[in-house]
């Protein structure tokens, strides 16, 4: 009875307390909500003290595997392909016959010339015989002329008879000269035909396509029977020992690129295994359209199974900078025309304009001016910061640290 009455008495008080507690909890929840979200909520940031370290700048570019020397093997005049004796993937030696163009009528023309030369030889023999004949006539004419001159001296014959013999002798001399000239002409003719034949033989050799160097056949562009024009490729060769990577570097991040620097090459086919190499050549002309610098990077040792045209990523390591202040590139911001970082010292946020040096591929940036060691640099923030942002420093805003 007593307990029951006490319960009855205290019930409204309990209710009042309960209701009051509920109201207080609601108000607390509202206050929490208002402080946690909306304009009053602080922006969570992380702060990292500026420290001394070195930056290992590196340049990153992509390229394709190419051969330093590649050969297009094709005819010097339009023609039809007669036969192709090698196939893609064949290794060939310098001077080896690779393909042959159809010589069309060259062989027949050579035969015709051979016949012409034989005929010219016969002609020369005939001319030689004529010369012998002329010489004999000349001799006889000279003897006759001498004898008639003696007789004329003794006045046994008339002057007219002597003159006839003298004329005979002159004719015989002219006949010899004519025969000499004929002989020379026949010989010149033979030389001409010989030269023509030699020329044709050269042409005959020219339709044979031979390897200019030891190499590997990478494509077979024309098959027997197809017609190609002068300069068109029948076969393509490369020298596999001269494979290198033609790398394109963004012009904006190619400072410090010189020949001889060490490079790491990651091939698309095996990115987990970087290969050592070095910058073999830096091209003097860079691409103005793509704004890229072109360099050739050679392998220290050629990997097995390398394919031409394969994509490769190349990282060129530049000399490490002297120790100095570094910040993460995530902390570098731009305010108007100035580049710098936000500093979160006790009072609030302050923007510190900086002069920055080189950047490493790991995202660390060298600070040349504008920062002291130990300055609290804002690295990550939930949103864009301004000088009067309310902030709350936390260990990590999201995710894990790199």
């Amino acid at each position: 009875m007593n307990t029951a009455s006490r319960f009855k008495l205290s019930a409204p008080a309990l209710r009042r307390w309960g209701l009051g507690l509920l109201g207080a909890m609601l108000l607390l929840a509202l206050a929490f909500v208002v402080m946690r979200s909306g304009p009053l909520a602080p922006t969570r940031i992380t702060v990292h003290k500026a420290e001394n370290a070195t930056v290992s700048p590196a340049l990153f570019g992509i390229g394709t595997v190419e051969a330093r020397r590649a050969y297009l093997i094709g005819p010097t005049a339009a023609g039809r392909v007669l036969r192709v004796v090698v196939d893609v993937g064949d290794r060939v030696k310098a001077g080896q016959l690779l393909a042959e163009m159809d010589p069309v009528d060259i062989d027949e023309r050579v035969a015709a010339l051979d016949a012409s030369i034989a005929r010219a030889g016969s002609a020369a023999v005939a001319v030689q015989a004529q010369r012998q004949d002329a010489l004999a006539k000349k001799e006889l004419a000279a003897i006759n002329a001498r004898r008639f001159a003696d007789l004329a001296d003794k006045n046994f014959i008339s002057a007219g008879a002597l003159e006839a013999r003298l004329q005979e002798q002159t004719s015989a001399d002219a006949g010899v000269s004519g025969a000499d000239a004929n002989l020379a002409a026949a010989r010149q003719d033979m030389r001409r035909l010989d030269a023509e034949r030699a020329g044709l033989r050269q042409q005959r050799n020219n339709v044979r396509l031979v390897a200019p160097a030891d190499g590997l056949v990478i494509s077979r562009d024309a098959e027997p029977g197809s017609t190609v024009v002068a300069g068109q490729a029948v076969l393509r060769l490369i020298e596999p020992a001269t494979l290198w990577v033609k790398v394109r570097f963004d012009q904006g991040r190619s400072a410090g690129l010189v020949a001889g620097l060490h490079a790491d090459i990651s091939l698309r086919s095996n990115p987990a295994l970087p290969l050592a190499g070095k910058v073999a050549r830096l091209e003097a002309v860079s691409d103005s359209v793509t704004e890229e610098r072109v360099a050739q990077v050679s392998f220290d040792t050629l990997p097995v199974g390398l394919s031409v045209g394969e994509l490769a990523e190349v990282t060129v390591n530049l000399p490490t900078t002297a120790p100095g202040l570094v910040v993460s590139n995530a902390s570098v911001k731009r305010q108007g025309e100035k580049t710098g970082v936000w500093l979160a010292d006790g009072s609030g946020l302050r923007f510190a304009p900086l002069r920055l040096g080189q950047t490493g591929l790991d995202g660390r940036v060298q600070v040349l001016q504008g920062l002291q060691a130990g300055d609290p640099v804002v690295v990550y923030s939930e949103k864009e910061l301004t000088a009067d942002s309310r902030i709350k420093v936390v260990d990590a805003v999201a995710g894990q640290k790199p």
Partner: protein, 400 residues
């Protein structure tokens, strides 16, 4: 003086609190719906803020790059840089696509931007983890909403990218999270066809006697090469020098460069008034209906609460309580109910807003407007109840 309303509430506080909480959840839904609408508009504004541009230069006669497709040559930026008043200008590409990772694919807007310069237009302005892109290829910065982690490999078209940094609240106007990659990779991702299409195109070109002439070696190769390369971007983002009017810089670009240029205000107009207009109006319409329904329910609850007490009110009248006291009791109860409902609603909305897949922005202004509306509706609803209470015949206390 004893509070009649307080006494009554204490009498049946369980019912009162439960009614308040129920009302609160309804108000919470209404506030959330307002938040969804605000979130849509904010997504659009955020897109403009994050690009940090004062001027958007796009293809002539288009409203690109967000509302329409726009394509311009990537060397246009050099022409723009030479104009007076231009401090910085940068190429940018936007492409909404499915980004694949090992687990699943995520719908994201892939942004190609010119890397290297902090604070350049188009670049992600702030990070929540990791670092900015340092390599000119195959690195990405992703919004945390994509669910990607640092170091994760993601696939965009035919290349794998490493996520090196995470950012937050970088979304497209449709609310898709952004993935930032270097411009050249993005150009390739946007315009490079798949392997089958490339092979088919090559075969088609080779079969065309006009392009594959027997006597012209190299012609076909040249045509194939020219078809495989691309130098287009979607827009050029421009930042102005201090002291230059955006319109004054935009005007010569439109007139002499034969391109379209939008200022920040025009871009916002395009995004908010055109791009998201229909879906935003859809949400707004729903919000209006929800607000009306909520108001009606609040009014009915208060009215029925009063009617359920009609006998007690008759007793009060019988013992000579003044009408003002009775009206005050009903009004106080109605307002109390409204306040509890508002607080519960605001708290509930704040707690469930982050779970929504798209951004829900609960503006303090909306909360204040909601509070005023709740108070006014409660007051109006209580007048109905008061009228009913005052009309009660004191005899009903003993009659029924």
């Amino acid at each position: 003086m004893i509070s009649l309303a307080g006494r009554d509430i204490l009498h049946s506080w369980g019912k009162f609190v439960l009614t308040g909480v129920g009302l609160g959840l309804l108000i919470g839904v209404t506030l959330t719906m307002a938040g969804v609408y605000r979130g849509m508009v904010d997504d659009a504004r955020m897109l403009l803020n994050n690009s940090r541009a004062d001027l958007w230069v796009v293809q002539q006669d288009t409203q690109g790059p967000y509302a329409e497709a726009s394509g311009i040559r990537d060397d246009v930026v050099r022409t723009i840089l030479g104009l007076p008043g231009v401090a910085r200008a940068a190429n940018v590409t936007y492409l909404t696509m499915q980004v694949r990772s090992e687990a699943a694919d995520v719908r994201a807007m892939v942004v190609g931007f010119e890397i290297g310069q902090p604070g350049f237009p188009g670049a992600p302005g702030y990070l929540v983890a990791g670092r900015h892109i340092t390599r000119s290829h195959y690195e990405a910065v992703a919004d945390v909403k994509t669910g990607f982690a640092l170091g994760q490999r993601i696939r965009i078209r035919r290349h794998d990218y490493t996520v090196v940094g995470l950012t937050q609240r970088m979304v497209s106007s449709g609310g898709d999270p952004m993935v930032f990659i270097p411009l050249k990779d993005a150009q390739e991702a946007q315009f490079l066809k798949d392997n089958d299409a490339i092979l088919n195109d090559r075969a088609r070109n080779a079969a065309n006697p006009g392009l594959n002439r027997p006597g012209v070696p190299g012609l076909l190769e040249a045509i194939q090469a020219s078809q495989a390369s691309n130098h287009n971007v979607n827009a050029v983002l421009v930042q102005l020098r201090p002291g230059f009017e955006a319109e004054a810089v935009a005007e010569p670009i439109r007139r002499w460069k034969h391109l379209e240029a939008f200022t920040r205000a025009q871009m916002e107009e395009i995004l908010v008034a055109k791009l998201i207009a229909t879906s935003a109006r859809q949400i707004a319409m729903f919000l209006v209906i929800l607000a009306i329904v909520s108001a009606a329910i609040v009014a009915f609850i208060i009215y029925t609460m009063t009617l359920s007490k009609i006998r007690e009110i008759a007793v009060l009248k019988l013992i000579g309580t003044r009408n003002r006291t009775i009206a005050g009791m009903i009004l106080q109860q109605a307002l109390g109910l409204g306040l509890i409902g508002f607080i519960v609603g605001k708290v509930a909305a704040t707690f469930w807003a982050p779970i929504f897949p798209k951004y829900v922005l609960l503006e303090p202004g909306d909360a204040v407007r909601g509070l005023v509306a709740v108070v006014v509706i409660c007051a109006l609803a209580s007048t109905l109840a008061i009228r009913a209470a005052l009309k009660v015949d004191p005899a009903a206390a003993i009659g029924g």
